[in-house]
Amino acid sequence: MTTYLFKRLIIAAITLVLASMVVFAVMEILPGDPARLMLGFNASADQVEELRNQMGLNAPLLLRYLHWAGGLLSLDFGRSYTYSVPVIDLVRERVVVSLPLALIALALSTVIAIPVGVFSAGRQGRAGDTFAMGAAQFGVAVPNFWFALMLIYLFAVWLRLVPAGGFPGWGAGIWPAVKSLLLPAVALALPQAAILARVARSALIEVLNEDYIRTARAKGLPYRAVLWRHALRNAMIPVLTILGLQFAFLLAGTIIIENVFYLPGLGRLVFQAITQRDLIVVESVVMLLVAAVIAVNLLVDFYYAVVDPRLRGRQ
């Protein structure tokens, strides 16, 4: 088991390094000179050159990468070109919005998807299943920003239950903050829940046809007990794989959703940074998101080992 976990950890670390190289390379290729952007178009070539030297932009590529990557490790992301503040400060402000949002969305999609999957698998081909899977099909097809607008219209404009957008900050108290994250979380979660419900359903149907389910039934366990004790744990393996992959989409999805709901999160930060050519912010946030996705998938790998004894013995 330790060998397995150790291997996963090494692979995750290598992935992270490779991803950082790709991110760095892409930023190098992108047109636009940050020094020129910071100084404006009226600045002379000498001024720009001086700033480039100051920012270390004229150093060799490898050196700049090492400097940047080394900074990442010590959470020193450099300074934002446009705001002239350390990137870490910008990120710190935003992450307290985006991370709870992604986590609430993840929890919501799991809480919705698994019961729907269980329900559908138990009624395979019958009316309830057809309806649930039809709804799931709809959920997959509808873009989340449209869905977000509908939610705003219904819950914020019409029912006036929650704010239509904006974020009061955690200083305003936990409930108001969570309340303003609820709609965006639902908008993010539903399309993911739809996909996850379909995966859960097919995984469960497959497991329910396994021989060991018949063995469990032959023991005298009623359907419900067989489902909870034998089927779900085995079906969770593919469901978790998808959940791990979806986390990446949830994070990417925040870029759109945070704009729709006017939330000061990482998604909006990166969106603004791109429009302002604030490359160092883009690099840093993208690397953060990459690290988050790799970390979540590492957790999923660890969970496999907990669920599946066959993996524990493997090298």
Partner: protein, 540 residues
């Protein structure tokens, strides 16, 4: 009074009739065999008793167990019976256990459910039951997971689950079909002991007449959902009053005619295997020490002459299939050399292997798994033709396919069908057609008939014999079934733990085995003649 009484049971699934007016009775302590070929409704009869039928199944008639009408019983009543008074053992031990739960949990689960015993007490009882089925604590603690056990050991766990609460009736559906003969004999012994210990009724379902004859007091023969004949085992099989009974008995003892006997030493060897070994990387025990390799094939030498039929027999896991893969150049030996028609094939590139591949084909065990379901027969059977030096034109190709199909007893019209349109036996004919289309000199057949019903099996064996006689094809049969070896081979090679421990003329080896491994195989192999004789003797 009967423990289980089935009267006039008919069953249909979604309108398709499966069982017609089936009658069956089992008394306490009695072993009743239910025999039939695939699709005869054996398993459906068992699932009716368990009330674990698929959706849309409709049963009529009466099934009474211990005074309870099972067809009218509620799901709650059935849950109380299943695993407590009625246990069931299934065919495929490799998949019958939940991979993520320990064997202890799985055996104790039924005990806890039915008796409301605490965890400690249930585990204690589970421990005793596992000891009873031959899985002692020292080697098989409760914390073992199924993947750490072999097929035979897993089947013991399944039996422990089924018998943990001393059921009045045990239903065993092909409990030993997936196991080799030695394991089969052990599992049958265990079942027999459990029956006499607890006066348990046993319904033994099998396609193997010899197994049922050895085990059952009475038997019921089922065909297409109808009972053909039922009665005392010895009488039914010695008198063979019903034509279908006779047909089954004859088919299971069938030996194909091969008038041209092979004369040993008559020609230069076709295949020579010299000192071949194959190591597999073993399981690493520590991060810092290299793993000990596992030696699957250990210094094996053998020769096969043209038109000779050899059988490689041995228990599962003895290295038969690994050896076959190396002969077919699908795997590289760790040491040793393999020569085919005098030319070394070990370590050659795919291009250099082409002529050898053309003359050496293979037939696999599973006629369902070895065809791409999305391709038509003409393409599937023509597959090996890419090995020819000059590629035949399309018309010529179809002609060759038609010819190969004709040789295996299929028609030219079958060319445009898909694999699913054929029965299991026909599919095995297709794989033989595919194997002989390049006119090979050697066909390696890996358990070619073990997935087939006895009557189909007899036909396929006839086909192998005919092709051997007509085309002079040499065979290497890989099997754990000694009846196949006896029926088909001139020479038998017995393999045990990676080594060839005995070789000789088929009759000599099978009638007078010298090595321990061969003796164990012969003693364990079910034999219909012997089984009937023993039953007759017992009953006077």
């Amino acid at each position: 009074m009967s423990l289980l009484q089935i009267d006039n049971l008919s069953l249909s699934i979604g309108g398709t009739p499966i069982l017609k007016e089936v009658e069956l009775a089992i008394a306490p302590g009695e072993v009743v065999g239910l025999v039939g070929e695939s699709g005869s409704g054996k398993s459906m009869t068992a699932l009716t008793i368990m009330q674990l039928l698929p959706h849309l199944a409709q049963a009529s008639g009466r099934v009474t167990f211990d005074g309870i009408d099972l067809l009218a019983a509620s799901e709650d009543q059935m849950c109380a019976l299943r695993g407590d008074d009625i246990g069931m053992v299934f065919q495929e031990p490799m998949t019958a256990l939940n991979p993520v739960k320990t064997i202890g949990e799985q055996v104790a689960e039924g005990i806890r459910w039915h008796t409301k015993a605490g965890r400690a007490e249930a585990e204690d009882r589970a421990r005793k039951m596992l000891d009873r089925v031959g899985l002692p604590e020292a080697k098989f603690p409760l914390s073992r997971y199924p993947h750490e056990l072999s097929g035979g050991q897993r089947q013991r766990v399944v039996i422990a689950i089924a018998c943990a609460l001393k059921p009045k009736l045990l239903i065993a559906d092909e409990p030993t079909t997936a196991l080799d003969v030695v394991l089969q004999a052990q599992i049958l012994d265990l079942l027999r002991d459990l029956v006499s210990e607890n006066r348990m009724g046993l319904l033994l379902i099998s396609h193997d007449l010899a197994v049922v004859t050895e085990m059952a007091d009475r038997l019921t023969i089922l065909r297409r959902g109808e009972v053909m004949e039922a009665g005392d085992t010895a009488r039914t099989l010695s008198e063979q009053q019903h034509p279908y009974t006779r047909e089954l008995a004859l088919a299971s003892m069938h030996v194909p005619a091969r008038p041209k006997a092979h004369i040993a030493g008559s020609a230069k060897p076709l295949l020579e295997v010299e000192g071949v070994s194959r190591n597999y990387p073993g399981r690493r025990k520590s991060l810092f020490r290299p793993a000990e390799p596992i030696r699957a094939v250990d210094d094996v030498s053998l020769t096969i002459e043209p038109a000779q039929s050899a059988a490689l027999v041995g228990r599962s896991g003895c290295g038969k299939s690994t050896l076959a893969r190396m002969i077919l150049a699908l795997d590289r030996p760790t040491a040793g050399a393999i020569r085919f028609r005098g030319e070394t094939i070990t370590g050659k590139s795919e291009a250099e292997l082409k002529p050898a591949r053309r003359d050496m084909q293979v037939v696999f065990q599973d006629p369902y798994g070895s065809f791409d379901p999305r391709q038509k027969v003409d393409k599937l059977v023509a597959e090996p033709l890419h090995l020819l030096e000059t590629q035949p034109a399309k018309a010529e190709r179809r002609e060759m396919v038609a010819h190969a199909l004709h040789e295996v007893g299929l028609g030219p019209r079958d060319m445009d069908k898909y694999p699913h349109e054929f029965s299991g036996g026909q599919r095995q004919r297709l794989s033989i057609a595919r194997a002989i289309i390049t006119r090979p000199k050697l066909v390696v057949a890996d358990e070619p008939v073990s997935a087939l019903d006895v009557s189909i099996r007899a036909q396929i064996l006839d086909l192998f014999a005919e092709l051997n006689q007509k085309l002079g094809i040499a065979y290497l049969f890989i099997t754990h079934d000694l009846t196949v070896a006896r029926a088909m081979s001139d020479e038998v090679l017995v393999m045990h733990e990676g080594k060839i421990v005995e070789r000789g003329k088929t009759a000599n080896v099978l009638d007078r085995p010298r090595s321990e491994a061969a003796q164990a195989l012969v003693a364990a192999a079910p034999d219909l003649h012997r089984a009937i004789a023993r039953r007759m003797q017992e009953q006077g």
